[in-house]
């Protein structure tokens, strides 16, 4: 890849090595701040989850088989993204697109299931303004869902970029950043699954 340097060269030395490692580390730091964000929403849920204001409890509202399915789908999508990254590292454009696509479908299925759950709750009257429990539930699970949705949009964008430009240092770095994001979302879900759904069912 030839770089046409402008007459006034302000590039630092590292940039000519097309190394995305600083970008990736910076993105990791962002992920760390996102952990803090989620942890506080979790803490809020833990404080408020028994405050049902006369309404139904977690145990009465959540379907465990449904949640297990959702969980397995998201977990599998984290695995398939891993397979996508293995293809990226081998500069295999076709296999990369394939596994990104599979990951996307799984992620979209997860969101569809979640929207279905939310819609049912809402239409049965168990909406976020019903009680502190439900407010904190929708905030926590909804924030996670928004993150997943953003990831899906980002994934589509990267699939287009890879189709158009192939696997370049730039697209490689971007895919690596999305991989941190996507794996992180499954890790947060471990705790949503455990603290919201499993604890709710005990």
């Amino acid at each position: 890849m030839t770089i046409i340097t402008p007459a006034i060269n302000n590039h630092s030395h590292e940039e000519h090595h097309d190394d995305g490692s600083k970008n990736l580390f910076g993105f990791w730091i962002y992920i760390m701040t996102d952990c803090i964000l989620f942890s506080m929403i979790f803490a809020t849920y833990v404080v408020l989850h028994k405050h049902v204001y006369g309404g139904p409890t977690a145990k009465e509202l959540f379907s465990m088989p449904f949640v297990l399915k959702e969980t397995m789908i998201l977990l599998t999508s984290s695995f398939t993204y891993g397979l996508a990254m293995l293809a990226v590292n081998k500069n295999d454009k076709t296999t990369t697109i394939l596994w990104l696509f599979v990951t996307f479908i799984l992620g979209a299925a997860f969101i569809a299931m979640e929207l279905h759950e939310f819609s049912n709750l809402y239409h049965e009257g168990h909406s976020w303004d019903r009680s502190a429990f439900l407010s904190s539930f929708f905030t926590l699970v909804g924030t996670h869902g928004l993150h997943v949705t953003s990831g899906l949009i980002w994934m589509l964008s990267l699939m287009v970029q890879v189709l158009k430009h192939g696997i370049t240092p730039k697209t490689h770095t971007k895919l690596a950043c999305l991989s941190l994001f996507w794996h992180f979302l499954d890790i947060v879900w471990i705790f949503v699954f455990t603290i919201v759904y499993l604890m709710g069912a005990i």
Binding site: H17, D18, D19, G20, S21, K22, N23, L24, F25, W28, I29, M32, C35, I36, S39, M40, F42, A43, V46, V47, M64, L68, T71, M72, L75, T76, S78, F79, G82, L83, M85, L86, N89, N91, P169, H172, A176, L180, H183, F184, D186, I187, I190, F191, F193, T194, I195, L198, M199, A201, I202
Partner: protein, 109 residues
């Protein structure tokens, strides 16, 4: 393009590590799930058990999916992660303590 493989920001997995991570995660999900839905344990044991399994699965996914390790290429990532955990523990434990304390002091004694 070969310098990509010396990209110190990312560690690389292998098919094997992803498969191991995936299978372990499935197991670490199913065990607490069935313990809970079958009401196998008493309440307190159940709470502790599922939290332990959650932490174990966190570690599995951080190691096998995120490739976090003590390797020189991962050292700054690991440091940032540990620091985040420290801050997080202070925030979460501190908040829960404060709110529990508030709740307790507001009761009719």
């Amino acid at each position: 393009m070969s310098n990509l493989h010396h990209n110190s920001g990312s560690a690389h997995g292998s098919t094997k590590s992803y498969i191991i991570g995936f299978i372990l995660s499935i197991i670490l999900t199913l065990i607490p799930y069935y313990l809970v839905v079958n009401h196998t344990l008493n309440m307190q044991s159940a709470y502790i058990t599922i939290l332990v399994f959650a932490v174990l699965q966190l570690l599995v996914q951080v190691i096998f999916f995120l490739h976090l390790s003590g390797d020189s290429s991962q050292r700054w990532n690991l440091l940032a992660f540990i620091f985040t955990l420290v801050v997080l523990l202070i925030l979460v434990v501190g908040s829960l303590w404060i709110m529990w304390n508030l709740d307790y002091n507001m009761m009719d004694h």
